[in-house]
Amino acid sequence: MHSESERTITPAPIPSARRPQTSAGRRRWLNGLRWNEETRAGLVFVSPFLFGFIVFTAIPLIASLYFSFTAYDVLNPPVWIGLDNYQRMLTDERFSKTLFNTLYFVVLHVPTAIPISLTLALMLNARIRGLGIWRTIFYLPQVTPAIAVGILWLRILSPQNGLLNQGLALIGINGPAWTIDADWVKPALVIMKSWSLGWIVIVLLAALQQVPKDLYEASIVDGANSLQRFRFVTLPMISNVIFFTFVMLTIFSLNIFTEPLVMFPPQVFGGQMGPQDSALFYVLYLFDQAFRNFRMGYASALAWVLFLVTIVIVTVQTIVSRRLVYTENN
């Protein structure tokens, strides 16, 4: 007897001329396709993923969509309230603040992180001594636990006796209260995050090493200087990878969680995330609503709004990228 999952496997399309015409023949063909060894092996190999995807992704995804229309505290049955959770966001000041904080961070972080990463990748792509060591050094923050990084940077950014302000004082600049002043908290987080860009550097470095050497040679023959080679060869050839890192970094930044939680724990600011909730980012607020205020329904609605915001941003980026990203086709 065939299992339910086996029955739902859609056969790959084949040219109509080759399809069996009689009903008996069709049945034989379908049965043969369902039970051929390759299909079975394929199913076995993908079954762990399919199981994981269905149980840990698809079902929770659908459940969260349903919960977003309910008043649900996890411990008691959900009660259908229609669009109330979504309407609530319109009047929720902390929601507005959290959306603003998150978008502000994305706008500040993503455009600064990519050039910094690209510069580092270009440097690491050069033929310099001890290249392996340099690459390790730049990647090291990436593998340092986020909690350790957060605590370290809290000390570096301390307005009273932090290293950064002491350094700024040496050149006559009175450093801002990075961790105290609501206006400086997000720039402080951007500086801190810029320290952990190892993964982007690695991806861009890999892209740089894939640029065909003959293109550089041809451009040199044409008289291009190093800046022109970068502008007209390197950049176009790695533009698709830059776009990829741009999109990924945007998504990661929209989901920032650990660093602000470590640097600005609510107990330090008496329930607020940073001065005047300046470090309250979207996912932190979502988590807070779900697990501290017992509003899983509202948290689910927040999650879906974040999903939509992400989709919109990535769509815009994709449309814009058509004019900027070089591909084999254009």
Partner: protein
């Protein structure tokens, strides 16, 4: 070559039956063994209470001596609400949790913990052995949901060296006189190179002490029945306006916050001990940190009602509770654990063990406030040994403070209201909003949170 004839032949059917019988026999034997073991030892999981100090170990030892068949699996550190929420929702909760008493209402209001009145009645368990206010804190809608342990009380700490340096006579301190406190704060505040080096007076209003100062001014922020918010009462506005004036007189909130980020109240470099903070509200356990200096020149006072000599304090602490879904022998074992751990004998064993551990480290012993009246009295009078007048007077002050303890609203929306409150207080302190506007906004949000909760089916 001839085949060797077997001596006997076993039919395949017989073999199958034999295997089946063997499997059944092993299964029955296994189940019986498991049942016997289960009767021998019951394991209970305790979340939010670690066994990593001498006090906890000694208390558990006393309990286990009387209940050798109950095995404890503790998970220390603060109670992880996410973990607990999912554990209860999935029907596999820990048997006991150690929960902040201010959160009992939140958990009870959502049916995450069960009332224990039946267990109390069944054993004729005497709730009178605990301070009455601690029992009030663990009640929700008239039912008892936990047994209290530990009490933290707000005291007024003063570093006398800094007062002397500023030429202030400690005898002139009038803690009910808010104008004097404001002036003293400004006088004791010290800056060097444009940075704060000594805080004059920290009201701790930014850390939830709006409750304390509002009580001191005669108002409770939430009505006793938990239904009415009073955040924009003129007396509360007055308290916050004064607290802001205290901070402003010392360089403002940003300067205070920047300086406080460099301080560590848990270290031997405690700001009160080393004179970085002259006067502050803090919980009484601070003497346990300050004891590294037995000659520390400090004094503790009971906070006062405004323009009065009547004392008051803000009391917090935790409680053992049993989550929803714990039943049968597990519930009975959990109850035994709670009773055992909060008994006078267990507490006294804990205090003696703490005393011994302190001696071993060449440190003096400073007592805790357990919540058990008899254990506290005995620990403070017989186990505690005089350290210095400053420490001795503080321990004596515990008794007086416990008589005037106030406690905060702990209803189902307590954490939400707390978030709104701290946001409003910080907005006012940083000058983003005036105290009146900040508290008007807070009043609306807090009342809305209470009303919204009541609107949900079955909540009122």
């Amino acid at each position: 070559m001839s085949r060797i004839k077997p001596l006997y032949r076993v039919s395949p059917s017989l073999l199958k039956v034999a295997v089946l019988v063997l499997i059944l026999a092993f299964s029955v034997a296994g189940q019986t063994l498991a049942t016997v073991r289960a009767q021998d030892a019951i394991t209970i999981r305790v979340w939010g209470y670690g066994l990593d100090d001498a006090r906890a170990k000694a208390r558990v030892a006393v309990f286990q001596q009387a209940n050798p068949n109950i095995k404890i699996e503790p998970v220390g550190g603060a109670l992880n609400t996410q973990q607990l929420l999912t554990a209860v929702a999935s029907g596999d909760p820990p048997e006991v949790i150690n929960v902040n008493r201010s959160q009992v209402g939140s958990w009870a209001g959502r049916n995450a913990i069960d009332p224990i009145d039946d267990l109390i009645a069944q054993d004729k368990f005497d709730l009178g052995q605990f301070y009455p206010f601690t029992i009030d804190q663990v009640k929700y809608k008239g039912k008892v949901y936990g047994i209290p342990q530990f009490v933290n009380l707000d005291l007024f700490f003063v570093n006398l060296d800094t007062l002397k340096k500023a030429g202030i006579d400690p005898a002139s301190l009038d803690l009910g006189n808010w104008d004097q406190l404001l002036q003293l704060g400004a006088k004791l505040h010290v800056e060097a190179g444009g940075k704060v080096t000594q805080t004059g007076f920290d009201t701790k209003v930014q850390d939830g002490r709006l409750w304390l100062w509002s009580w001191a001014n005669g108002v409770d922020l939430i009505s006793a029945d938990g239904q009415k918010a009073n955040f924009n009462d003129p007396k509360v506005v007055e308290a916050l306006t004064w607290a802001k004036a205290v901070v402003d007189a010392q360089g403002g909130e940003k300067a205070r916050a920047a300086f406080s980020q460099t301080q560590n109240f848990f270290s031997p470099q405690n700001p009160v001990l080393i004179g970085q903070t002259s006067m502050t509200i803090f919980e009484q356990w601070l003497i346990g940190v300050m004891k590294v200096d037995t000659k520390a020149n400090f004094r503790t006072y009971l906070p006062r009602m405004r323009n009065s000599q009547q004392g008051l304090t803000d009391a917090t602490g935790s409680a053992f509770a049993i989550p929803k879904g714990v039943q049968g022998e597990k519930r009975a074992a959990a109850w035994k654990f709670i009773k055992g751990m909060t008994s006078t004998d267990a507490w006294l064993a804990g205090e003696k063990a703490t005393f011994d551990a302190s001696q071993k480290d060449n440190q003096p012993y400073t007592p805790t406030i357990t919540g058990n009246i008899k254990a506290d009295q005995e620990a403070w009078t017989t186990i505690y040994k005089s350290i210095s007048p400053a420490y001795d007077d503080t321990v004596k002050l515990f008794t007086e403070a416990l008589k005037v303890a106030h406690y905060r609203y702990s209803g189902p929306v307590a954490s939400e209201i707390n978030d709104y409150m701290t946001a409003a207080v910080n907005d006012a302190l940083q000058g983003v909003k005036t105290p009146q506007v900040a508290l008007d906004d807070l009043q609306k949000k807090a009342q809305q949170a209470i009303d919204d909760y009541n609107k949900q089916p079955g909540n009122h």
